[in-house]
Symmetry: C2
């Protein structure tokens, strides 16, 4: 008998029929002799509707009250899921985040889990119940409702799995697992059987939409092995775990693509101490989320500083930085969109040389120009013209033999 | 400075615009120098939608989970109401039933309030907040979410008013107060300024839809004076309180009408001990809600037993009683719908004679036949043909001078 945590996202519980599908899957898991804890998200669309409703009563709703409001989404799903399991003749009990013992920090709308007291979960499991826990939510030590922010339901599942020492944590979603590249761009993309936490983190931060980084970080920190798999079929998914020696044999685990990027270049920045700090303090103060930063070696006392961001941020970034360009004595601010990021990720890079060269060659062979390059220990990322990203993905995927 | 509880029903908070209207009213009350606790229902239609959703996952949803589900309705409203107040520049905090300290019995979907620990409410008031409490809900001593059943939000308001020793409890609804009769039937109907708990109870149980009996009973038990008034205008409403000497001067406070009634008569029931018990045990076991019961004096060893109910119950009642008719040796079961009940209510009846006679005369003058009569200490009710109920209401209302 294993103790299994299963998490189902908003699409998987998107309507009553899908909730019944989840109920059947959960019952089947229990019927194999396991104890099951199920973490569910709000039904897809519900959170957005609630946010819309809040805007109709207040332009800038309080975050405490936003949490009270949004928490109703998952509370609705836990009740419906428990009812569906009852309707199929099995025992289940729903628990809100608070009832499941999830205590968080007081930072509303993006609270951090501080402790989990899983006694109630254990009791209900001991009573033969399938336990349905509301994802994305918890309460503060003094009993205010909180939510965990984006990707919060995954985090709930992994944190609960850690707290109850589950044997397995399964993250059910609408894709079959983590792929070597987006199959819509690269038809030969393959599902990855096993991936290390670090690779998963790099994939997440470079465009793979499967999971938010924070859930992976939490899993890594507490050593929670989890599987990402589909709720719409029975295919095995991708296991995410600590790296093993055999993982290192693979140089590149996958190729991540991020479209809709934009680039800002501040030209001819006087090469003085403190200038970069001044620029990026402004960026941070404006709440801009930037990605790659590249500064060329200074020539003749000036340098160009470029950085990338989501295209949506570009106008805000231009407005924030225009005064700074003058202040630091730079010559101009160049904005460019229509670019995309391609990243190759793999822990094998640490011990294999020539990986970047192979990437550049593959792109060069296709006549694709590289505009920016950024590297980390297990990732190499390039910025290219957005219109050629599909072609680039196929070339790179092929060059590293990922489709085999 | 007074401490005021205001309750707003589903229609009053039916959309974002109406929630903003409630926010403005509450703020205006606070601006007069009062402390305000607001109890809100689910937005109109929400509870029905949730019930519908539950039926789509299970034919017979568990009551515990139904409470988890339904409680989201009021939780949504408290968050939106608090946000609306913030948006208008004032301090407010939302509390679920559990957070407001409402502890109930464990009877899901119709829990009884067992205790209220209002410390949190007092704290938030002391902090200058308008406190928004979710109506209709509480939690059991061991932390399961419960709901209070029909009229539960009124009950929450009155129970909170009692627990915090409020100076005033205002029940805001979509009517101006309690009327001497339904103004749609009797254009000369007047709003009643003050009414005793007992009269309000009789009005509620005889068709007046303003409030459920249990909330009035609770108010009577704990001496909570409350006012029923409209959230759509500034008119004073009806004050409900313990009877005063001056109230007795009025013989009839109002006329209640209940349409869509039906009657079952069991004819020629052998007049033996235990027969009526057998019949009404069956009625209870079938979960039928019956209203008036009339048994004529036995003639020649048999008697007729008639009782009324909502027309919707008639088929169920016939099915349940058909076997009993044979078992007790009665001759037939006669069913009749198309009838209505007219009741006159007033504590003054206790000390004034001739009230029933005046009622019968008024109807007789209009040529309206009385099919059944039932009386209590402060009420006289008659069953008449449904098609003539409007006419009867006008005649009776006039006869007792209620339109003046």
């Amino acid at each position: 008998m294993a103790l299994i945590v299963q998490k189902y996202g908003g699409t998987s519980v998107g309507n009553p029929e899908r909730i019944l599908n989840v109920a059947r899957r959960v019952i089947a898991t229990q019927a194999e002799g396991h104890q099951v804890v199920v973490v569910v998200s709000a039904m897809s669309g519900v959170t957005d509707s609630l946010i819309k409703l809040s805007r109709e009563v207040s332009p800038n709703p309080s975050e405490r009250e936003m949490d009270v409001l949004l928490a109703t989404g998952e509370q609705t799903t836990i009740a419906l899921t428990a009812m569906a399991i009852h309707g199929l003749g099995h025992k289940a009990v729903s628990l809100t985040g608070a009832q499941a013992g999830i205590v968080t920090s007081e930072v509303h709308t993006k609270a951090k889990i501080s402790t989990i007291t899983p006694e109630r979960v254990h009791e209900e499991l001991a009573g033969g119940n399938i336990v349905i826990v509301a994802g994305f939510q918890g309460e503060t030590a003094d009993g205010s409702i909180t939510t965990l922010g984006r990707g919060g339901s995954d985090l709930t599942a992994i944190a609960i799995a850690s707290a109850i020492k589950a044997d397995l944590c399964q993250i059910f979603t609408d894709v079959d697992g983590v792929y070597t590249c987006d199959p819509r761009l690269v038809p030969s993309a393959k599902k990855i059987g096993e991936i290390s936490y670090d690779e998963m983190l790099e994939m997440a931060s470079s465009g793979s939409k499967v999971m938010q980084s924070r859930s992976v970080e939490f899993a890594k920190k507490f050593g929670v092995i989890f599987e990402v798999r589909s709720s719409f079929n029975q295919n095995p998914g991708t296991i995410v775990k600590e790296e093993t020696d055999s993982m290192e044999a693979v140089v590149v685990r996958g190729v991540s693509i991020e479209k809709n990027q934009a680039k800002l270049t501040i030209a001819n920045v006087p090469d003085k101490p403190g200038t970069a700090a001044r620029i990026f303090t402004t960026v941070a103060a404006a709440g801009l989320i930037i990605d790659m930063i590249v500064q060329n070696v200074s020539v003749a006392g000036t340098t160009d500083i470029s950085f990338t961001m989501s295209k949506d941020e570009l106008e805000k970034a231009k407005a924030a930085l225009a005064p700074i360009v003058i202040e630091v004595g730079a010559s101009a601010l160049h904005a460019q969109d229509g670019i995309a990021k391609l990243s190759i990720v793999g822990i094998g890079m640490r011990s294999h040389s020539g990986v970047a060269a192979k990437l550049f060659e593959a792109l060069s062979a296709g006549g694709i120009n590289i505009q920016m390059i950024s590297t980390s220990e297990i990732k190499t990322a390039v910025i290219i013209e957005e219109g050629r990203i599909g072609e680039a993905a196929v070339l790179v995927h092929e060059a590293f033999g990922l489709g085999q």
